[in-house]
Symmetry: D3
Subunit: 273 residues, 6 copies
């Protein structure tokens, strides 16, 4: 986490640092400021924000009022920062950039997790993450009540349509995967049709990704699988579509946009004194 | 650019690499694939995608069909990649993560740039960027026809409400800024009211940020400034609101969401052979 | 791989470089040298050695005669290096340090893999590796015909005696693991006795590590497991003990000393001209 | 030292960290554990182990019972670690990998140092070290009572057979070395025969490496040198052969296997509470 | 700052560290030492020196007697260092290398700043700095009472003779610069003659660099500019020539040699006890 | 070398790069430029300059006319650079900063080397170098005909006055040094008086640093040493004082100012077409 925050601070400070605050705000002035939600949502990333303040000036003290994974309402104070005013302003933007981005992800995740809470299904993210922020974004998904899929290409085997085509078929792809996988590696495979699903079930897999199937078809798929593998539905998962999909009995719903297209949660910094 | 792409590849490859493609796709198989737009938009970031493929395998050849800053329609081919199929699949996700993110930014920028093309105003981004991707995101804004604001805290002086409060007033803040600034540093100041604007004009500044003013008020502000400074309008800039704001005569419209909340542009990779 | 080799070269070159060869061997002299086995064994790590030569001088050409994973006899030539003599001598030690270390690991792995080739069992390594050489050492194990266990703490869940004690029992440990694990994460658990094994089987696990059990007890354990989980035997695995252990029907034998205590394979560099 | 330990921790933690301990061992549980010798030997590397624990969690307190360079018996406690149980287990393997590797080197060094303690000769290591661990391994040699040879190619001039061949003879090699060497650089040269030794003595050198000579021949060589240079014997140095070699009157015995082939010293971590 | 000092310490320590002090000065000996000026001058860089001592040994305490930007006389004590003698000697050279270099720059800057103190002109540095020490050297210039010019190529536009030639003239160069520059970027242009100056004034620029003009010509230039732009004189600025140049009414004098050719200020370390 | 140049380029380019050349000089324009000496001197560092051009744009071709270690006259062309004009201007300053700095060192070294060419003495540098440029500066000294002293604290033992004081005397310091030094490490000791010298000679050392002795005293010292050790004179070595000092028969003259206070050699870049 520290290298990420340090790099982001250097990106913002450049060579000469915060020349505005240096010019205008004397070093000796102390201030107290609040991180305040401008929108309802779910908090994630306070440790990043806190670190941004502390790396700029160990004299800045951050007190967290509403910790990560908690819901917030507009106007609520998430944290208080106290210390030298110049340092506080210097760190503000980087702290908010992390906090807003990760809280935005937690917020959309929570909206789907809430919509399917009456089912056994869980919402999970994908590898469609912002470059070099994957671990942070996956953490934000957990803050929003979601589960994590693979952290990278080496975590598990996930056979997609292109792999199947290049292997010459589902059976051959699964055979090669099993021959290559270490004894602690699981195998998941993507299918688009029930015919493909039937072929997968003949060969066996740990998990099956049911891609872009309508709820009725998903329901048939879950019945066919009948507990022989974990089932994951993907494609067009939104707070509106999620309940019907989750009610089909699938184990997981996965959605790339949680991490790649969630808008930031609007959080501001208000100087109090 | 290379360190960013290299880090993103390592983030995805982990220690053991793409174990799925290693297992299933023999090294010797050659493939040809197309990066295809699934949505209309503006391309940005092809060099990042190209580098992802080439860093994984110098044997992958990328041919660009529609370069950065061009508009694309759904179904259009943006680039062709040819070479070892295993390497191609290994680099796919990182390449698409960069390309989708940056094209998403270019696309929303272009939508606003188009909406104000009949005025002299330009759309510009802010420092509200994704941590450690600022330079790339600012490039994407330019691809979309936007202009860039400060790259960091050391580029220019930008006096905001918190600075004014801590300095004890607009006049004192501007006085301190001018005393501190090097001879090649410009000074911009944020105002919320016409009274504040009047005070700024008495002291002089290179640029004035008119924050959250409705169009009528903006029009008055532009008249008051009367060419003595560059004018920048910010707050709630969308493709819908932008024309009215731009028609007030301001020089610039600035919007943080271009970089922090633009959804990705959906681009896929189709194996052709 | 390149950062490892580059760091090892800098470690050896220091600030002033190879002052012996600089003093004695003129830049212009060309040489041809052979990497020659002084012992029988299995080759691993030629790419590291090749890179050491090429990073010192792109003018050094390495031709591989016996590739990785092949067996060699004393006196056999593994590779030929041609080019500037001074550069060749400068890179020699680092190249040999990598090649000898990794070939040593491949050689001991192959000795066990050979001893159990008549059974279905495979030999696998552990996380007891040399700091910062894990991926290279795991590759060397594969060159010797072994399989790889976890690459790190995040690959899979492996519950050991300390975890069980701190959880308050096998059942509770497995329950917590299942609740926490993502859908693509496998769970393995270590047992020392058949009573523990029975408890594990009641709760279910993907794999079971049978630690330090004598062959007769292993045979009973395999029978009890009866295909409900992968079985792994560990403790005192040597070329001598391995056959009896493998013949009990376990799926895997694991041994830390493959990577942490394998002696180097003696390989020398002979200047031919 | 810190970069090495930090890199080794990252190598083990991967992206998601110790998912086993996260799942099973609550953050709040405190534990006390002992690093216990399973074999007799000499300790080296406690600072690396301590740093591994402290980098994972500054709340882990390490108390050293038997410091580096001391001998230990099986069952003896080397150090106590107290603090959060989850963190303790997370750092365990990296701490032990360093400690076992370096103590293994110290142990074999001590076995030879002990065998030649009745002579004036000292045991020294070489540049045949594990890539990127040289300084640590040379430290372990000192813990075992050995001396250090060159840390790298730039420390001193060491003329080997290949250099002599490429220079066209011993005399020319020494002449070039003296012309090139700075005033604080020593020159050592390797010889295989007494005839070569005679030639070296005619030209003069600071130290002479007597390679692979049997004890009787070494005795003649030492007599011929007669204090005009430091003498170093190399080749097949073991605890068994060392006394006879040391008794020939040479100043130093050097052995590559101290650093490249010493088996780890078996040390375990026992949770006490 | 810390990466610079850390790198410089590693550069000096090499692999085996300060073998002289290790051999001769026992760890337990405490010492008190003074950094003493051997010449008159202006101090700059104490934080670098302090960090060098503290990075070597946090047990070294540095007490500053004469802070940065203050003038010192020969024999005066600048700072006191207390702590382990071995550590103190190990850090000495790196600490002095930074302190002497930066104080040398501050000293020459102060000599010119003093010579023009009776005018409104300021002395400023350039981009002719020692590679990788720019920020530190620009800080030293400020300690000496100077101002900073651009920190790099991206701070502002500075059009030089080569740019003008390649653009085909002053007018075209300024036109292109204005079209490209963001709204917070200033534009400066270099002229050698009054004819060029006239052309610049017709097109407008924020600042004008009057290169190598004699005082009489500078006076004419300042009159022509008449407050329409900032004026900067460069070329052969020394403590002797500076007053006459400054008296012409220019705003700034710039000199590369402040940073690239200032001799070190001679400062020594005296062990007191 | 490459990390140094790359870092210096990043230091100059900042985030947005050379905005002047981007604005004014179209990418497609080709140029030919000459690096031209404005002063007489000795060239050093062309590889750094060349690398700066090539790292900015591999399309820039550098042809060296007068290689490192050669003397140049004012107006002479040192190298030609051809290629894209924009890239050429972007790299210019960093290339010249390296080349001017290192040629400045070579030039002052050559002036002293020339002044003592009629004696057997050599001029050598010290550890008083610019932080993080030591290896480059030592190379420049060799280009000027000088020799290199220690590259760092770990190269050799050099006992200075502070060490002697802390050890309690010359004899004890030398005893400790010999007990600690590896067999390939030389020992030098600094003396200020002939009495100290006598004491050193009683105990023996490889080299003796005669600090700040006038020529007559140096002559006596050399006679006393009488070939039993290498002699090095230091203190106030200039082109004027060097001949008399060298004529005393010392082996070496050492001077810190060669590296820490040599003014840059003035070299410019002239666009030819």
């Amino acid at each position: 986490m520290e290298p990420l925050v340090r790099a982001a601070l250097l990106e913002d400070l450049g060579r000469a640092g915060d020349i505005t605050s240096q010019a205008i705000v004397p070093n000796a002035i102390q201030a107290k400021a609040a991180l305040v939600a401008r929108q309802a949502g779910t908090v994630a990333g306070l440790a990043f924000a806190q670190l941004a303040f502390e790396l700029i000036d160990p004299g800045l003290r951050v007190t967290i009022a509403i910790p990560d994974a908690q819901k917030i309402s507009p106007g609520e104070t998430i944290a208080i920062i106290e210390g030298p005013a110049q340092s506080l302003l210097t760190a503000e933007r980087v702290a908010l950039n992390f906090l807003g981005h990760l809280s935005g992800i937690a917020t959309v995740t929570a909206s789907i997790a809430g919509a399917i809470a009456h089912t056994k299904a869980k919402i999970t993210c994908t590898r469609k993450t912002t470059p070099n922020l994957r671990a942070a974004e996956k953490y934000a998904v957990r803050c929003g009540g979601g589960q994590n899929h693979r952290f990278g290409l080496d975590d598990a085997i996930l056979i997609k349509d292109n792999h199947i085509a290049l292997a010459g078929g589902i059976g051959e792809a699964l055979r090669r995967a099993k021959a290559h996988a270490g004894h602690l590696v699981k195998i998941e495979i993507e299918v688009d049709t029930l015919a493909q699903l039937e072929e997968v079930l003949r060969h066996g897999a740990d998990a099956i990704l049911l891609d872009n199937m309508p709820p009725a078809m998903l329901r048939d798929a879950v019945e066919m699988v009948n507990g022989q593998a974990i089932t994951e539905a993907s494609g067009r998962i939104t707070p509106e579509t999620a309940p019907a999909i989750a009610e089909t009995g699938v184990d997981l719903l996965s959605a790339g946009w949680l991490t790649h297209s969630a808008p930031v949660l609007d959080i501001g910094l208000d100087i109090e004194t």
